[in-house]
Amino acid sequence: KPLDFSENQAFKISEQLTPETKVTSHNNFYEFGTSKSNPIENAQGLKVEPWTLTIDGEVDHPITLNYDDLYKIVALEERTYRLRCVEAWSMVIPWVGFSLADLIKKAAPNSKARYVAFETLYDPEQMPGQRNRFVGGGINYPYVEGLTLAEAMNDLSFLAVGLYGKTLPPQNGAPIRLVVPWKYGFKSIKSVVKIRLTDKKPPTSWNLLASHEYGFYANVNPNVDHPRWSQASERRIGAGGLFSAKRIPTLPFNGYGEQVANLYKGLDLRKNF
């Protein structure tokens, strides 16, 4: 479905966009299978209407949003972000949505709030990966992710409800997903049903599965390799065929250092990867 939104010029970049067909057919969404083509094959039946997203925990005004609210709680805008997967490929994607901070402000975090925890829908009947660990890659579902409150309140943190001007397809995390462009893609949790402000660092799915490979912060960092592959460069998926992809150097914080580096002052990013 087409969406009404305004373009946010502050978040436009000149890099060539990854074509829509590739953005919607190359996905990691283990709830629908572990191969890149599984989500588009298996997610089309995902029921997003009705949907309930709750924002609660250490807040003064817990919020419950239904499907229609997602598109009007905050005025929608379009932002073009780079997406860098931990597997060393990347895309450039025009998202439609709103700033995460705007939503969190509405819930009014109290003085105890230090982290923000996110949770994906848990519905084994709709999600074959949650029924069967062969399909779901051995993750303990529901998929959970988390940010520090400061990260969540950063201007870049975004809740997307659309892609290329239309509502999100199921394989991209319909109806609402997180987008944190300076972190590896697995932080950008899909099909979110719960946002909870907490005083303790929340568990995060990939970190639980392999803590030496995936840290809580997961900031894009060319100087800290994944134990099994280099993060110094990435394959940019653009238009065209197999050989048209380019290998480009990976930038610290995926090129968003100016906006976010100050969040990590005094933190050893080699240890806190």
Binding site: K22, S35, K36, S37, I40, G138, R228, S230, L242
Partner: protein, 199 residues
């Protein structure tokens, strides 16, 4: 089944077909855009698992020939073995071309720095050595050294299973099964490999 010399070319033709079909299928998938938006990982995994499956089949040939008294089967072993090398070559070539986009320095770095890639690279060198010495002439020239060299295939199957196990992001059930089957097929030769005379 009775297969004599006359039938052997037909048997071999069928084996060729079975070995080539998955490669043709892969080409069709990729060119019909049915292998995902960015089929690089798909192609690398497909050819890699193809190499391992074919290797397991190669190792199954001699036990099967003995058990079912089908000595003609032994005549197909070189053919199937060379397909292992063919699949492995496609696997390495697609990793280097599609994923690394022909960056030699990155290839060198990754082989040295990543144990699972190093393990795979060693296995590939073994497969290469076995393939270039698979000609009858070379075999005759090498004498008993030929068997010595070709026993390295058992080391290769273990290395490749480990390479697979190490490469997956999560869910180790499938690679664990491969390691088990690999060990089983090597185990079948335990006697032969440990007795001095057989060498």
């Amino acid at each position: 089944m009775k297969v004599n010399r006359k039938h052997l070319p037909w048997v071999k033709a069928v084996f060729h077909l079975f070995a080539l079909a998955p490669i043709i299928y892969l080409f069709l998938l990729v060119f019909a855009d049915q292998a995902g938006g960015d089929p690089v990982q798909f192609i690398i995994h497909y050819t890699g698992i193809g190499a391992l499956n074919t290797l397991l089949l190669t190792l199954l040939i001699s036990p099967a020939a003995k058990k079912f008294k089908m000595s003609w089967l032994m005549q197909t072993r070189r053919l199937v073995g060379l397909y292992v090398f063919a699949y492995a070559t496609l696997h390495v070539a697609s990793y280097f071309s599609f994923d690394l986009l022909f960056e030699w320095s990155l290839l060198g770095e990754e082989v040295i720095k990543r144990p699972y890639i190093l393990v795979g690279a060693v296995a590939y060198l073994i497969l290469f050595a076995l393939s270039v010495t698979s000609f009858k002439k070379v075999m005759a020239k090498m004498g008993h050294n030929w068997q010595k060299l070709h026993n390295w295939v058992y080391f290769a199957v273990i290395l490749i299973s480990i390479h697979f196990y190490w490469s997956v992001k999560s869910e180790i059930i499938e690679p664990s099964i491969y390691i088990f089957i690999g060990l089983l097929l090597v185990g079948l030769r335990f006697k032969k490999l440990t007795s001095k005379k057989a060498r």
